[in-house]
Symmetry: C2
Subunit: 551 residues, 2 copies
């Protein structure tokens, strides 16, 4: 029996983020992208979500390399976690590798991992696979798609992309996608992020024009916040500042890091002296100042947040400051952004944030752009990726509207094994896949039970009931004592605390009368009685922790 | 010295929700609206937020009545809480009072509170105030504005409104506002919700047309979710269903309640037999079925949520079902709605939710409508209400653009006392105002300390350290025992648990050596040592509760 190509998404299907896909053929395996996801609202205390890498670890010997499409967190963020247990070279473009390097240094893994830098057009052999780098447009420079030659045919990964014919680094290489399409493509895996949106995503140039409008008629200090990784946007801010004779300072760690990488690699064209230190900019007149800051998503402790809430050490918002929010809300961040905007208004700032102002464009292709790529690549099989269920299904419908046979379109989930020959594609089983939570320095030691407890504690707090029982006859030696946290304002609820002691005492007495000597049965009795009593009196359900110590 | 009119917002300024405003003159006081707010993300476990009513309670003797503009929760939801301590008649229109009555019955207060029903055009005397009911358009029927005659001049409250010239119950009474303007209005308090939006809010009729389009070409079951209180929308759904020969069943408690009230009061025009029981609708062919359900905000346990996640007792989503989401996301609910949509897609449903489909219109006036009202009322003073800081400020700018003197525009916050004579308006001090949290049956017993503890517990869980010390020499009799919840998966962390016991033991030993016998000092030592150890080893910061029992 001939070998088959396996395509196995470990992340990014039926979810947003932690994009990671495995290609496997015989004794060879490569990985495309290795991103993180961000915790949902109910993942209390979780810092990051990473893919379950156990399939990669188990197949470590087959691993020939990791190929990264671009430097956003949802494509590179899990690399340090994967690289604790894996060993293979990582291939990316200059900007992408610059950002990966920062990450590896933070995790003290820079010496261990081999980073290999390529340009669009480069072709890399990795086992039986040959990976070609193809230039695409996106909201970070140096993003690429991959055309991967496999023994059964060519697989095209678009990565995140848009078609920006007036992009500063040139339109994405549609010609190459067309050539590949003409030669025959076995499977296409394409970005579904913006498939709900009709038409085209506007060019990044639109934002440059809007920024010019905002700078032109302004004689106040200007503070712009945007995604740190959008170097074309930062370039527009720098160019506009230069045009109006303003100096630019940067605030926020991720922005500083990003700028450092971009400048080192020559991605920013800026006159000597335009970028100045945040400390030195204060001495300039207001109409000579631009501050570029983090915080476009309303993040707690970001530079803009600290400026708004007066906890920034160097910058305080004053009446008249023009704050430009050059970003849109990632779903879930609406409230935090709104809080900052309100606070900026309260300080008397002039805040520009409306969609209608053209201060942000997406980095992802809308329907018409997706259709162009489908029309050029004309794959035999199509697997929509990078999206929640509705995105994947709408992308499947879009492919159908382009004439694809629905039987050749496959919607999977993480862990799904797609098995391809040159003529067929079918789902054949699954591999372990899931969400691994990073909390502090712990990876995977917080799971559903811990999160369930955190949710319970968050909603109603907890009550500890301590009692000392005699090991001889089970009688109460001391206690019960009641300690609560996050339940009720105790100083105004002393009566209730006394009642709870009574309820606990009665539960223990009842056990004694029934000659129950099993500690866990006594704990249950205390727990049930207090829980019932509290629900009756307060309609609340705190976590109750009976602690019995035997003397 | 002549008396002055005091206007005191207790809610709804610099925040969304819990709208409530006091008017006070000499020995008379009235209240306009008495709503609830909904908890923000960081208000763990809080069910509702209500205004601080202490100023009303302290001035109970002056209180002549409560006047309610319409029946939405953010205008009526706090009435049962206020009416525990207050005693005055409540004035509203029929629909509004129908909804208030339901609420009072739930809280067993229906006998205590006098509800008086009025029609637009009615004029009510309450102490020195005379309140006129004026018809406005909004997303609930029977909404009114108030023109309040006071000894120093007329005050106009718009309440929530939009101008809908083709509304089923007629355009709002702009003529009356114009007359009042001609006679002279002292102060205008106007809705700022949609002040960020240019142009006009489309008519509710637009949605009726869109619904027709969705029903026309559908031979499957249709499930529509919308805001339960939007009776014009429900009427459109019923009319469209009748037109296409479909029966309508209702699912979800708030929708059932609302329909009951609306039908009793004659707000719904529907042929006998169109509305049927949910249990009986299942026997009909798919193209004869419409289900109207709650859940348009993605609420956990709402009817649509239960249908999507297969926990609804009577309705299961099947492939082909057309689900129409006739609502937009209230900020903060985006994720929950998105989760339901994904789940519906997963079940094979055809989900219609795009803005572009015209399936929802707002109930609030956009910029051009606001300008019309300002142009008609031409108040001497303007106080923007119903909005966060940015809405209030933008509304102030809008009034300025209409020619108002900025010195006559006042932005306040809750508790601000605006003092008006016939010629002046100024801020003069504050009264107690704030956010009171309702959690279960408790009102005000959860405050910032409890919420801080809940947040702490939510993020990192907690560790209880129990130890029995001898009352004679402070030596350890039993323990220390370690119990954790929401911290780490304990079964895989036994080593860490042992280490924590060691750390606690060493802290106690150290205290013994230093002859520290003060329990609270020993507790601090245990807490600090464990906390430091955990931060070093896990970068986490759980709540640590040392419990010492003395034997």
């Amino acid at each position: 029996m001939a070998e088959k190509l396996k395509i196995i998404p470990l992340g990014g299907l039926d979810e947003i983020g932690k994009n990671c896909t495995v290609l496997e053929y015989g004794k060879d395996m490569i990985v495309v992208d290795c991103g993180v996801g961000f915790p949902e609202e109910d993942m209390y205390g979780v810092d990051l979500v990473i893919p379950d890498f156990s399939y990669l670890v188990a197949n470590q010997k087959k691993l020939r390399g990791m190929f990264i499409t671009h430097g956003h967190e949802d494509h590179i963020g899990s690399i340090p976690y994967a690289m604790r247990d894996l060993n293979c070279p990582i291939h990316g473009t200059a900007m992408t590798n610059g950002l990966i390097k920062l990450k590896l240094e933070e995790h003290k893994l820079a010496d261990k991992v081999k980073l290999i830098t390529h340009k669009p057009g480069d072709v890399v052999k990795a086992g039986c696979f040959t990976v070609e780098f193809i230039h695409v447009n996106h909201s970070i420079p140096d993003a690429v798609a991959f055309a991967i030659r496999t023994p059964v045919g060519t697989v095209v990964f678009t990565g995140d992309f848009k078609i920006d014919p007036t992009s500063k680094d040139g339109m994405m290489d549609l010609a190459r996608l067309g050539e590949l399409g003409n030669q025959g493509v076995l499977a296409l895996l394409a970005d579904s992020t913006n498939v709900e949106r009709q038409g085209y995503t506007p060019s990044e140039n639109v934002v440059a024009d809007s920024l010019d409008r905002q700078f032109r008629n302004c004689d106040q200090r200007i503070i712009v916040t945007t995604f740190a990784s959008n170097m074309h946007r930062i370039q527009s801010i720098l160019s506009t500042a230069q045009r109006y004779g303003r100096k630019v300072a940067v605030s926020g760690r991720s922005m500083e890091n990003m700028l450092k990488v971009a400048q080192e690699l020559g991605y920013l064209k800026v006159k000597q002296g335009t970028i100045v230190d945040l400390a030195s900019i204060k001495s300039l007149p207001k109409n000579k100042i631009v501050i570029v800051s983090t915080g476009s998503q309303g993040e707690n402790m970001s530079a803009l947040y600290r400026m708004a809430f007066s906890t920034h050490k160097q910058v305080e918002i004053v009446a008249g400051d023009r704050i430009i929010i050059s970003a849109s809300a990632i779903p879930g961040n609406e409230k935090s952004i709104s809080n900052i905007i309100n606070e900026l208004y309260r300080k008397g700032a002039d805040v520009v944030y409306e969609k209608s102002e053209g201060l942000h464009v997406s980095g992802h292709a809308c329907q018409e752009e997706l259709k162009i790529v489908h029309g050029l690549v004309r794959p035999k099989f199509f697997i929509p990726v990078h999206g929640e269920q509705r995105h994947l299904q709408l992308h499947a419908k879009l492919a159908q509207s382009m004439g694809m046979n629905p039987r050749n379109i496959h919607i999977g989930e993480i862990g799904t094994v797609f098995e391809l020959t040159g003529k067929t594609c079918k789902v054949n089983g699954t591999v372990p896949a899931g969400r691994v939570f990073v909390d502090g320095s712990g990876v995977g030691d917080v799971g559903s039970v811990v999160l369930r407890d955190r949710k319970h504690l968050a909603e109603d707090g907890m009550i500890v009931v301590c009692v000392n029982l005699s090991s001889e006859d089970g009688s109460v030696i001391s206690g019960p004592d009641i300690i609560t946290r996050g339940f009720i304002y105790v100083k105004e609820s002393e009566d209730l605390m006394e009642e709870l002691k009574q309820v606990a005492m009665e539960a223990i007495d009842r056990c004694q009368r029934k000659r129950v000597r099993d500690w866990s049965a006594i704990k249950s009795a205390i727990k049930n009685d207090i829980s019932g009593y509290l629900f009756k009196t307060t309609k609340r359900n705190p976590m109750i922790l009976p602690v019995i110590m035997e003397i």
